[in-house]
């Protein structure tokens, strides 16, 4: 008797929605009445767009099945460093999606939005409190746009003082890619400075580049190296003395909530990733929310709208209220629904919770770091405490066995763990940036260490299995080079 291979009958990968489409099929219950619109012939579309023609069931089944192909917080431990993949409380979603909130038009009069605006105003106040800043604008739609707002405010500040020479932004080499990209978008020149062997900024290098052209410095703290920058006082003095301002990339705020406040430390501006620290959903790539907080001297430049309060009435502060504002960064006021989720989360966490988050995120990271040390893994900064995250380097395994950080990452998927961030920050070779977050239980951390240990053993005896990983996912390792060379970016009907 011959045996058909089992893999041949594993449910096939899901076809595209276009493969499921048949001319003339449609989800009738979703059609509004057929009314004839009168459009001048020259402006009329000639051929219907090629959109899927499927039944409602087909659409539901298709996207349900596709969703099952994902790893996510709700299904897997997801220690993606720098991304703070913590539990997204379902209550935040439920209450942000109350019909009144969903149905409110952004330009509806303020009287029809006092409930919503009250939440936004309180959110601004809470963010001021946790950062120690003097003013907050909620409008930036993600971290990168928050950075943009920050650098644009720095620029506006200098310009307002008649200082047009400050065209340089200093960025430590460990910075997230958005920092230099943002500086460029703001028309600034990026000046990189190195970090030292312990992960702190190289103060001597900073001293060399700082000067009258310095608009400011963008500092991520805890840095992307997973350590707390210990020279903030020197750094601040150097930059402020030179007339530059200090930008705080607060994407890693989770680690320091309630422990230090950027405002107290003398920073002039900060952006926060509400989708990280304040646990709004990551949605397969977004949305985010990148609220900015500023010190007093940058208040006039905050992006609009900002929510103002007069007595017990709330309204947007706009052009006439903030004439020096850097302006508008979105069509309305940013990712309102994300802000609602952050607001709900912060209220549920409350004062004490806000303090605990950083503590337990730090505990989890340090515990994992300690466990990895015990198991003989190599830490990028062995002399340092972990913050909310830390870095392993696989450089020895890469050199000795040809098994790279990428191979570990892919093999982890087979064990049911999402991989840490790989090859970031760029300056640590073969690195894995691991951020467990405070919402994971000890057992999940132990399981993860167990998987890494098993993979390390496997690397010694069966490197090929790692290089071929993953083996148990809907696809095996994908050919990225082919993807970039033979671009196939949209579905086309078979010729």
């Amino acid at each position: 008797m011959t045996s058909t291979p089992i893999s041949a009958v594993v449910a096939p990968r899901e076809p595209t929605i276009f493969d499921l489409s048949r001319p003339g099929r449609c989800a009738q219950a979703q059609l509004p009445p057929a009314l004839a619109a009168d459009i001048p012939a020259a402006l009329r579309r000639r051929r219907r767009p090629l959109l899927p023609e499927v039944s409602e069931l087909q659409a539901v089944r298709h996207y349900t099945r596709l969703s099952q192909l994902n790893f996510s917080i709700d299904t897997h431990f997801y220690p993606l460093g720098s991304c703070t993949m913590k539990y997204n409380p379902r209550g935040c979603n439920q209450y942000a999606m109350l019909p009144e909130f969903l149905g409110r038009h952004p330009l509806a009069p303020a009287v029809q939005g006092q409930g919503y605006l009250a939440c936004m105003h309180e959110l601004q106040e809470m963010l001021k409190e946790v950062t120690g800043m003097q003013g907050v604008s909620l409008t930036p739609m993600a971290g990168a746009q928050g950075e943009f707002a920050g650098v644009a405010m720095i620029r506006a500040y200098h310009h307002a003082r008649g200082d047009f020479e400050r065209t340089e932004v200093i960025v430590p080499e460990a910075a997230h890619g958005t920092n230099p990209a943002t500086a460029t978008m703001c028309g600034m020149k990026v000046i990189e400075i190195p970090c030292n062997a312990d992960g702190d900024c190289d103060i001597e290098a900073l001293r060399k580049v700082v000067g009258p052209r310095t608009a400011g410095i963008m500092l991520t703290n805890p840095s992307t190296l997973g350590v707390f920058e210990r020279h903030i006082a020197e750094l601040r003095a150097l930059v402020h003395d030179a007339g530059g301002l200090l930008y705080y990339d607060g994407a890693n705020l989770n680690a320091i909530l309630g422990k230090v406040r950027p405002g107290d430390m003398g920073f002039d501006v900060i952006h926060m990733n509400l989708h990280k620290t304040f646990s709004t959903p990551h949605g397969g790539g977004g949305p985010g929310a990148g609220a900015v907080g500023v010190a007093a001297r940058l208040l006039p430049y905050l992006p609009i709208p900002v929510v103002g309060r007069e007595g017990d009435k709330y309204r947007y502060l706009e052009e006439r209220d903030l004439p020096q504002s850097i302006g508008r960064l979105s069509g309305f006021m940013g990712n309102a629904g994300v802000l609602l989720r952050a607001y709900i989360y912060m209220r549920m966490i409350g004062r004490e919770g806000m303090q605990r988050i950083g503590e337990y995120a730090t505990l989890n990271a340090n515990y994992l770091q300690a466990r990895f040390r015990q198991e003989g893994f190599e830490l990028a900064y062995p002399s340092r405490r972990a913050t909310h995250e830390f870095i392993l380097t696989m450089k020895h395994s890469a050199r000795d066995l040809g098994v790279t950080a990428m191979d570990f990452a892919k093999r982890l998927l087979d064990f049911g763990y999402h991989a840490p961030t790989t090859y970031f920050p760029l300056l640590v070779p073969e690195c894995l940036l691991i951020e467990p977050t405070e919402t994971e239980a000890k057992e999940a951390l132990d399981g993860f260490v167990g998987a890494m240990v098993a993979i390390k053993k496997e690397a010694a005896v069966d490197a090929a299995r790692l290089k071929g990983a993953p083996h148990t996912l809907p696809v095996r390792r994908l050919d990225d080079v082919r993807a970039a060379k033979q671009l196939d970016l949209i579905w086309k009907p078979a010729a």
Binding site: C26, D74, C83, G285, L413
Partner: protein
């Protein structure tokens, strides 16, 4: 501890393993001088029950007015399946698909989305979303400067009939890089961008021209002529379009002789709730020749080790995490969840459904315009054909009229005189397929009452 699973035993064991006595000790690298005090300004925690009650009360305060505002965000029916699926944990709580093999759901959805956007706009490629329509237009302008190698001027023609907030947003974002925007007036009779006003730019270095269709007034532009003018003068053409309208209107890829170069727009009408302005998403499509100048993530189909097809992020060398200061944009987190909702929305409504949404919206707005035209003191401001919005000229300031309507539970339109003082008191109103004939009647009556004018019938 809310959302923290640690038991006292766990904490003890973990501290022992680390070799410290307390959690506090883990922060010993932070210089003492920097340490913060307690966060007294944060209120004490609420349970989920309490916050639920609070939010319900706040929502009730906002109410559910009958909405006739458009002006860039449109109320359409959203099939229930859209958000039932979009909020599934596997979608809602995943992140950017850096590990392609563990993210095929997200990646394939993006690939399908890219296809839909490309087909809707009749362009060749699409990215995986930008923040929103306004900032998307800013990105398009920056992209045009990179892509139009023949132009040195970084000078962009921006019709005054383009959504004023878009114009402000583009200015706020792109002026930092030295882009210059030249305003093109509109014809005060038709509401269309004045073709003859372009004459003054004849022979100059123009990097790109922006065309919004329909424009902010809901008026349909002569997109072919504008596109032709742009191309004839060495400019790239940037279309800012309403995606719903593309079910009926000539898509940007077919404007003029060879279509526009970049098409962007606000994706909100495709299954995204109004929600006080966000999260929405911006879409962007372009020609293949410009793909390497496009900002944002892009997904491609490729093969796996076994030769089977799969999806992955591609052309990442454009992006900030690879190219850093030289990236096409600083965008990182985008609007994945909303793009997912839009993909499901389009799959469910299909070409037939989208066409019906568009035509019903158009017809309802026409009905609305004719219903209010019988009110003394109310006139259509412009003569050119409209899509699903119309600008009304009133005989008195708009603000108090809107207040009056609000008091009757109606969100009565957008006071466009704020942005176009030259037009006098003008009110931009919109009815979509969600409005019934009764709703329109209700509106007309309320407006007449607010104007103190008995309706002539």
């Amino acid at each position: 501890m809310a959302f923290i699973p640690h038991t006292a035993d766990d904490v003890r064991e973990m501290l022992d393993t680390i070799g410290v006595a307390s959690i506090e000790q883990l922060f010993d690298e932070i210089p003492a001088a920097l340490r913060a005090g307690p966060l007294t300004g944060i209120p004490a925690a609420l349970s989920e029950m309490q916050i639920g009650r609070l939010m319900s009360e706040r929502a009730a305060r906002d109410g559910r007015p009958l909405n006739f505002i458009g002006a860039g965000a449109y109320e359409h029916h959203i099939p229930a399946a859209v958000w039932a699926i979009t909020t599934r944990g596997e979608i809602y709580t995943a992140y950017t698909p850096y590990q392609a093999e563990a993210s095929q759901g997200t990646l394939q959805t993006i690939y399908e989305y890219q296809t839909m956007i490309a087909n809707l706009t009749a362009m060749e490629v699409s990215n995986a979303s930008l923040y929103d329509g306004a900032s998307g237009l800013a990105e398009a302008c920056l992209m045009a400067v990179r892509a139009n190698r023949r132009s040195k001027a970084a000078r962009i023609l921006m019709p005054r009939a383009v959504n004023p907030t878009y114009r402000k947003c583009v200015e706020a974002i792109a002026s930092n890089q030295g882009l210059i925007f030249e305003e093109v007036p509109f014809d005060p009779a038709t509401g269309q961008t004045a073709l003859d006003a372009l004459a003054r730019f004849e022979g100059e270095d123009i990097t790109a021209i922006v065309i919004q269709q329909p424009n902010f007034f809901g008026v349909l532009e002569d997109v072919d002529s504008l596109t032709e003018w742009g191309h004839a003068h060495g400019a790239l053409v940037i279309a800012a379009v309403n995606p719903t309208s593309l079910a009926l209107l000539k898509p940007p890829g077919e404007w003029g002789a060879k279509g526009v170069d970049i098409a962007v727009g606000e994706g909100q009408p495709l299954g995204v709730p109004l929600c006080s302005g966000g999260p929405y998403f911006g879409f962007m499509a372009t020609r293949m020749e410009h793909v390497r100048q496009m900002p944002g993530r892009i997904v491609g189909r490729t093969l796996d080790l076994d030769g089977r097809p799969g999806f992955t992020l591609t052309l990442q060398a454009r992006e900030q995490h690879i190219r850093r200061g030289k990236a096409t944009s600083n965008i990182c987190t985008n609007q994945g969840l909303l793009m997912t909702a839009a993909t499901i929305y389009l799959a469910i409504v299909g070409p037939e459904g989208l066409e019906r949404v568009a035509s019903a919206s158009m017809v309802r707005t026409t009905e609305l315009a004719s219903a209010v035209s019988t009110i003394p003191g109310v006139h259509a401001a412009f003569s050119a054909p409209h899509f699903h919005e119309v600008l009304l000229r009133l005989d008195r300031p708009v603000g108090p009229v809107l207040d009056e309507l609000a008091a009757q539970g109606i969100a009565g339109g957008y006071d466009a005189s704020r942005d176009y003082p030259e037009l006098g008191p003008v009110l931009l109103v919109c009815a979509t397929e969600t409005k019934t004939c009764d709703d329109i009647e209700t509106y007309a009556k309320a407006l007449a009452a607010a104007l103190g004018a008995p309706r002539a019938t």
